[in-house]
Amino acid sequence: MSAAGANRIAGAGRLTPANTVRFTFDGRDYTGLEGDTLASALIANDVHLVGRSFKYHRPRGIQTAGPEEPSALVGIRRDAARHVPNIRATVQEIHDGLAAVSQNRWPSLAFDIGAVNDIGSPLFSAGVYYKTFMWPKAAWKHVYEPVIRNAAGLGVAPDQPDPDRYASRYVHCDVLVIGGGVAGLAAALSAAESGAQVILCDENANMGGALRFEGEAKLDGLEGYEWAQQAVDRLSVMDNVRVLQRTTAFGYYAQNFVGLVERVTDHLPAPDPDTPRERLWQVRAKRVIIAAGAIERHMVFANNDRPGIMLASAARMYLNHYGVAVGRKVGVYTANDSAYAAAIDLKKAGVDIPAIVDLRTDPDSGLVEEAKGLGIRVLTGHAVTGAGGKLRVASMTVEPANGGSKAEIIPVDAIVMSAGWTPSVHMYSQSRGKVVWNEESQRFLPGEYPQDAVSVGACNGTDGLQASVTEALAAGETAAKETCPKAKKSGVKITVDGEGKWAGNMVGAGPGAGAGKVMKAFVDFQNDVTAKDIRLAVQEGMHSIEHVKRFTTNGMATDQGKLSNLHGLAIAAEALGRPIPKVGLTTFRPPYTPTTFGAIVGHARGKLFDPTRKTPMHVAEEAAGAVFEDVGQWKRAWYYPRAGEDMHAAVNRECRTVREVAGMFDATTLGKIEVVGPDAAQFLDLLYTNPFMKLGVGKLRYGIMCREDGFIYDDGVVARVAEDRFHVTTTTGGAPRVLHHMEDYLQTEFPHLKVWLTSTSEQWAVIAVQGPKAREIIEPFVEGIDLSNETFPHMSYAEGKVCGVPARVFRMSFTGEAGYEINVPADFGRQVWDAIYERGAPMGMCLYGTETMHVLRAEKGYIIVGQDTDGTVTPHDAGLSWAVGKKKTDFVGIRGLNRPDLTAPGRRQLVGLKVKDGKTVLEEGAQIVANHNQSPPMNIIGWVSSSYWSENCGHPIAMALVEDGFNLMGKTLYVPMPDRVIEVEVRDTVFFDKEGGWIHG
């Protein structure tokens, strides 16, 4: 007996017996061979039971030898942070130290309490989630879902951040070949030798596709697999070819944009930490050659999910590639020629084949004779109607296909089966191609190509090795010629002799799993969907395959129904009494196989998830103890707590200090747009509601920008720098969209205007100094500007120097205080900030952040667009009618503002609220009612848009949008909260310095 498992067959397979690998499964130590998958190594050690099913917790084994595996899903653990659930054991390669665990079982794999679902399974029939757990809604959240989640669920998600790196690359090529089987290799060779830039990808560890198990094939005189490896070697050394192994084409998007994921390190025992775990390739190909092959289907019969029952091609792969026999006494159940090859290979390797059960009455007599010649009993026109055994199949029940005589029970320890081959049309379907039903061969094949692509080989329904090779060579050369101007004749010739037989095909449930039978004959293993479930769905009125799919969840598991779709469709069609193409195949969508979030996200996580924007003064603010808040991508100083202060205390102090002495604020994040040109004033006149033609040079104006519908879009202060030059400011978040909006009008509606727009948001650092001592603080630094009230009053603009640096100084205020906003080139921002701070601080000036800015502006009733407006507020609603030019004949929004619903009475209008108890700070967003005694649903007449504690006023302040608010002054309204009702009184929005004298200094 081999060290690497009792089921290893000496001399079989391509692995080297000396290269042993140690791994564990459910904590037990096993030995496999280098090159094994977890599945092949487990089967070698006679382990077939690897998991429990999703819904019924049925024992499940390994059903395939590839990526289409529905059942053998395990958790793979490298260390505490690297536990990956739902890995297909048939894909995961083993390495020293690999630790795998079974899933979905408790307390142990062999004894699972959840299996009671199997016995009580009428409860869990199709549609159960829709029908049983719909009502009451609250019960779903608190009762049903937690119970179901505990009992079901596949695998356990890791609870630590993913420590691995994931790389991402874009690449262009002439020809992308998806699939490295014989067709893909031939196409790639042909295209590459013609001179095209070629990418060839294959999802498996070894290229060759079916050549890995089909021993009969000979190409160029070589055994098929050997030929494939030489073809790969030949391609790998060509400069115009990129060969990607372990690389899955998972998504086919518009214009031949194909996503590939390369698994770089999962098969390595000790990966270099600098190597990414996976690499995402985003390929733009001039032409895609799809050579995805075909996937074998299982037979649908009772208990066809018992461990030890698998596809015939899988058994061949385990024997011919891995040197592993899937059992010692293997039954065969088929409707297809290719299963004979499995039986014959196994028999020749010394495995007992008690019977080949062939559903067909008249199979290929040559195969029957060959099998019989080896001493195998062949039962044609018979069906397997059941499987015995629980944790491992122990027998198969065989009956004549048309019933009649007594059933025979044949002891086995494995069953291999084949219902035929499904062309893998996933990539074609993802490219938005519509598959066409081929009645003769009973399968869906690619129809017209919506993108520049072609299918070759088995995925195109091309049967036979010679035909596939011929087709692929031609497709490769044509692709090169049509995509690459310098292409020449490829000259690639491949001689073929010897090939396997693949004929025969059946879809749907086998005899014995027909209508009316109570049994579990599985169609979809991963989602536990049986033939009966699909019939039930039809009975329940589901007539479209899309509805049947959603009702039963057939094909909706992570394997996307690679084995089950066609069977499900055939059973539904039979139940509906309609032909298969009339019932229709569901559309395949990305990803083809499960794809990690890591691969999709790549480097874009943590600090690289989104850029962080910091102002030039950020470091100084940090040193001053600022707490920052995120405003879009910006980090903005929120408040500056001093020792012992919480946020509330800090903001109160900052608010007081600004009004009593002065405060300095970083306003750099404001959007800034330079509007230049002979028609600049006319342009702004059209874009803002306010008049701009007569704004004098050296003056500022507060402007409101509307959309055509009359709703406020943005606001900001505009300075006239020169006759033909304006410095426009926007809200912090609005800068890009305001520029976009302006460009739109300039380029498409007012292209006759001579105006140029430039974003200058990043060019200027903006330092606001506000408060009674503002002028005294900045005066010594300012050159060339007379700051006196007479020459530089409120809403003035001037250029000069501040700290020797060229500056644009705005005399303006968002606090209601006398104040200045000093714009200096961004690189000098820190220097000017520090200088002003050093002088101002000993005079009692403080730094203040965005929270204090918000409070101070609310004390003055200044709005913040996006907080006190919500996209349905007009300038009139906001109490800003004065800012709408009455004499203007045109501006964006002029007509919208006259729409009947915008001029009708009862609009929500911006008002101030006085909280009657004098101490409660309302919740922003809270709803307002006129009658708090009304029972729900109450008549909501508005909502609180801004609300703060005002230390300067000594009471809370709030603004709200209230229906007909301007006419409700002095009225009492109510803010109902979960625990009480708060009484408020409607008032104007100016809470502080109503006369507005402070602003003039």
Binding site: A254, R432, E708, E743, T748, E749, D890
Partner: protein, 110 residues
């Protein structure tokens, strides 16, 4: 991800560089202040939603910054052509007919 031909840069660039900007050939009325409510509604709110050729605006926002127009087939999502702002709607009778036939086929199949 679509590839979009910018008629100003005169090359195909990835969709990430562009922003969709609504239906094309919707001109702002010259005397907008005096149009009727119905006219305003048609100008501002009403949009075509064709199955087949749609004319739409795009902006090469992370490239040259220009707005341009495109004719796109809403069945296949494919761009039929792109052209500069201000240029007239191109004649796409053939493509439109093809799409109409396709659409009818789709309808009759239902």
């Amino acid at each position: 991800m679509l590839l979009i031909h910018c008629p100003y840069c005169e090359e195909k660039r990835p969709e990430l560089e562009f922003r969709h900007a609504g239906e094309a050939h919707v001109a702002r009325p010259a005397d907008i202040a005096n149009i009727s409510d119905a006219e305003f509604a048609h100008y501002f709110f009403y949009r075509d939603n064709p199955k087949g050729v749609a004319y739409e605006r795009w902006r090469h926002i992370h490239g040259c910054g220009r707005f341009f127009n495109a004719a796109r087939d809403t069945i296949s999502d494919k761009f039929l052509t792109t052209y500069k702002a201000g240029e007239p709607k191109p004649e796409l009778v053939e493509a439109a007919n093809e799409n109409k036939a396709e659409a009818q086929k789709g309808n009759s199949a239902k």
